[in-house]
Amino acid sequence: MHLMYFTEQPMSAYPEQAGRDFGATALMFSNKHFDPAAGSRLYNEYLEHYRLAESVGFDGIMLNEHHNAPFCMQAKCNVFASILAATTKRVKIVLLGNPLPLADNPVRLAEELSMIDMVSGGRLVSGFVRGGGQEQLATGVNPAYNRERFEEAHALIVKAWTQPGPFRWEGAHYQHRVVNPWAVPLQKPHPRVWIPGVLSKETIIWAAQQRYPYIALSTEIEATKKIWQLYDQVAAEQGYAGGPEYRGYLQRCHIAETEEKAQANARQFMWMQGEFTGLAHPVWSSPSGYFSPAMRKAFVEYAVGRRSNPRGAEFEDQLRNGQILAGTPKTVIPRIRKLLEETRPSIMGFWASDGFVSAQDTRTCIRLLGEEVLPAVREIGKELGLWSPFEANAPTSRAFPDPARPAGQMAVAGAGV
């Protein structure tokens, strides 16, 4: 298994009442409430937590980004990835991921990711996402071309990584006279690409067509099973068998020394209603053209308040159905076993705390995960044959069947200064 630590990096130090009064903190809640002194403290606490996660035995650190929103203060995952590339030694740096449609220059992304891969000694996993609905508005990018831009930017980045330049790119959304970045990935054929998602069938199908692992973001267990059904079906059409090495899952999981404390802290996953969209204004989180045409009616009804969020569920429901786990290692491990048995992922992200959980409680959570939960999960993974893409030597992609690995041993030996 590949076990990752994750935090949304909440910018929780702002007047809570101001957020509640405004009502929808993702996108338009004024950044006059952003306190940079608290921001400075929090960024450095999060870095400390990442280093702790490495030292207690996590295999990877998962990073993401969001814009204009207190629920995630990481506005550019490549910035934290760069820091971690230089300040960690062993963990994979798993970006889930860079929102491709938001990039007006994907070649620049290809360069940045290559630099991170080289500095880290080939520890980069470069996931790509579409970005949330309000992210399109926050960055002024046309939601109606979101998927087209995603696919074209991906094709351009992979070409920039794998084909010597200079070459010219004349696409529908990107045009580049000269693609010839003097920074290429250390890993060959190219860093592994994982695709996280939560809802869109199109993304699952696309990931399976590329033979990229798909990372289900805290979906409900029956929904997760449907995801794998679809993925495996597309995989079979592509001529390969789906299975654990193509399956990832992000689990909200707060561990504490007592059940009571864990339950109380886990409620913070609902901070900003706990969803990726924060206290999302339905119009901003689902701009026209962004969502699946098949879901148009549902999103239209949601946008005018005639239906609840197609993405959301209440805290108690999520505790019951296992989307949120909270407890001591003793009570949580059997629930993880159930998840692993039923959905068979080999990649697991532990989203360990959120909101106003104290730095001390987060450190305790990370320590307990590392000391007690991860070893047990690894044993269960072995018993169930849940081999990660690294353990299984899985192909990098359909187009590049060789497993990704760093070019040249010297580079690896010199990594992690």
Partner: protein, 262 residues
């Protein structure tokens, strides 16, 4: 009034064009939100004109041309329609009424063929960047709130769309909005070149604005009137952006008098 709907293929995609009436041809271009099928305004126009009322490509049931990227593309499609349609081909008396977003398209058409149209009527037209205010951004508000913003009197909205607007209408508004994003996302709802090109338009133009237009500021009407060599501005009281829905009789009178004047 009997309306028939033709389906025409222009630039490779099929488009619905509603038609009624007799007399000189009048092309009516719709809002970015499309239109309900029957409005008293359309029927009244059809008493004096042969009205052609296309659903824009990608709006209200017309096919979405995936290649289309800007509002000038739509204007070219309508120039093609005028050149091909039996009711307009070769005629010198074709006039255009553009409502809101349709007004922007009509203005673009006029710049492409500066002397070809008989009369031009622009009602609350988008297309020019205001210097003081802003054109309302529909991306930040719900379908209902955006359309309601276009009414001075909310009871008028309720009469046209129903106080509890049916979901099917909302879905259509979403499709229309998606197409608007595809062709007018950035810069939003204006073309910086347009004011410069309007100076060459020889077509006499009537600019009409609802006094309470909260979607496109009245200032834009003033700028249109200044940029077009032969234009005057009429302000309609008791109307917002959707003048044809709130004050249909006033608007019909203005259009009829202006288009038929010798």
């Amino acid at each position: 009034m009997d309306w028939t709907t033709e389906t025409l293929a222009i630039a490779g995609s099929s488009m619905h064009v509603a038609r009624a009436g007799s007399g000189p041809p009048l092309l009516v271009l719709q809002h970015d939100t499309g239109t309900p099928p029957g409005l008293p305004f359309y029927d009244a126009l059809a008493r004096d004109f042969t009205v052609l009322r296309p659903a824009h490509p990608g709006y209200d049931g017309s096919d979405r041309p995936s290649w289309m990227r800007n509002v000038r593309d739509v204007a070219v499609v309508y120039q093609t329609l005028l050149a091909q349609h039996a009711a307009t081909r070769g005629r010198r008396d074709v006039s255009v009424v553009g409502l809101g977003f349709g007004g922007w398209i009509a203005a673009e058409m006029a710049t492409m063929a500066p002397a070809a149209l008989h009369r031009l009527v622009l009602v609350g037209a988008m297309g020019i960047k205001p210097e003081r205010g802003e054109i309302a951004d529909q991306a930040l508000v719900s379908y209902i709130d955006y359309v309601r913003l276009g009414f001075a009197d909310q009871a008028a909205y309720d009469r046209v769309f129903g106080a509890e607007t049916p979901t099917a209408q909302l879905e259509q508004w979403d499709l229309n909005r998606e197409m608007t994003f595809r062709i007018a996302w950035k810069p939003y709802m204006y073309n910086a070149s347009l004011p410069h090109l309007l100076g060459g338009v020889a077509t006499p133009t009537l600019i009409v604005w609802g006094r309470d237009d909260r979607v496109v500021p009245l200032e834009c009407g003033e700028r249109y009137a200044k940029a077009l060599p032969q234009a005057r501005l009429e302000v309609v009281e008791g109307a917002g952006h959707y003048v044809e829905m709130e004050q249909p009789e006033s608007l019909v009178k203005l259009v009829r008098a202006f288009v038929t004047a010798v």
